[in-house]
Symmetry: C2
Subunit: 226 residues, 2 copies
Amino acid sequence: MSSDDANPNPLLSERIRIALADEITAGTLRPGQALDEQQIGDRFGASRTPVREALRQLAAASLVEIRPRRGAIVAGFTAERIVEMFEMTAEIEAMCVRLAAWRMTPIERSRLARLHEESEAMVLDNDIDAYDRLNWEFHRAIYEGTHNSFLAEQAIALRDRMAAFRRTQLRESGRPVRSRGEHEKVLEAIMRGDGEEAARCMRAHMFNASAALDRFTAKRESAPNN
Amino acid sequence: MSSDDANPNPLLSERIRIALADEITAGTLRPGQALDEQQIGDRFGASRTPVREALRQLAAASLVEIRPRRGAIVAGFTAERIVEMFEMTAEIEAMCVRLAAWRMTPIERSRLARLHEESEAMVLDNDIDAYDRLNWEFHRAIYEGTHNSFLAEQAIALRDRMAAFRRTQLRESGRPVRSRGEHEKVLEAIMRGDGEEAARCMRAHMFNASAALDRFTAKRESAPNN
DNA sequence: GATGATTTGTACGTATGTATA
DNA sequence: ATATACATACGTACAAATCAT
């Protein structure tokens, strides 16, 4: 799941997990599709054992659903489900930023501001991937600013699962510019130490991202040539 | 973990997972302790295969830590870590109740009120286990009241992991009475549809639970004869 | 630093439970 | 409704990596 693309994990089960996770979030594997252990094993030149472990991990991330003795299927990403996931992400992000606004140290605050400044060039170049990476750094800095490592871990895991959706969302024309503008509002509230206002801005930011994804995928559906 | 004690799960891996989860949250298995697959298998009369699956599940719930090719150890529950977990739980619960206060249907609201009324008898009888069960129902009704099934699932999973800590917390003398009083404040705010106030009450409720656990375990440490 | 012991990671075989004809 | 086919759940075996000496 790309928490570290530069890590060619030597464990077969992990490689399979990552590959399947990518295919599921990318939509190559459709919701409801059966995931036959033998079949997947053949595809990766592996036995069923590491496949099983990969499927269990994916079930824990609710990317697949396992019915005991009845096999695994790709979890259902209905439009409604994705909206729900975005709402939860939005609320978690809001929670984090509220706490961070109260607890971040001056050094942490200045680092956050610097990250935001750096992102300007990427928006101007329309370099989606670079902006997405800095976006990640920005949000991660907020998680750490909560000074609650358990919360930070959970937030990172959730964001990881949504990775594919977030990237897609940024492809809507003009979205990166607006995204950065929303970040600026969040940043200002953090700098003032106004946690509640920061939370409101963050919710709005995530809501806009969700809406952008919705519009983008709707357009894509009607004109399926990528 | 006891999400359903009345469910003698036929899957060996699940039974092992539940047993280990209980021992970890109960403190029988100490943080940092190595979890040898063979050894655990022997204890449960099982082979390493279901043990491995159980350990993976527990890692996903961050109850154990798996280092590739170096085995699994019990995750570290320092006092600080537990406080962090309670804070996250509190914020998640607050998030849920805020949404629920705005979205619950009249039928859902009346069911919630009924659950609260039923709990009175159990507090008077000082029946901790029965109160804990109804407590669970109360919070679960709130999760479902968010009308966001993804959020509800995550909240349930988190609460499940904290199960042992919550039960322990209720054993402090007088705690059930106060706990129920706090529920009442939450309920009133929900009934008024005041999400923000409900969230504040819920945070306070969870903070008090955390503090009660803290006092209870501190006392227990100094007088270890249970 | 090298060697042996232990433990994990993976392959494969078998039986039980589920779905289908 | 019964039987057949098939996938999963678990057990066993071996190779590779880690650790202990």
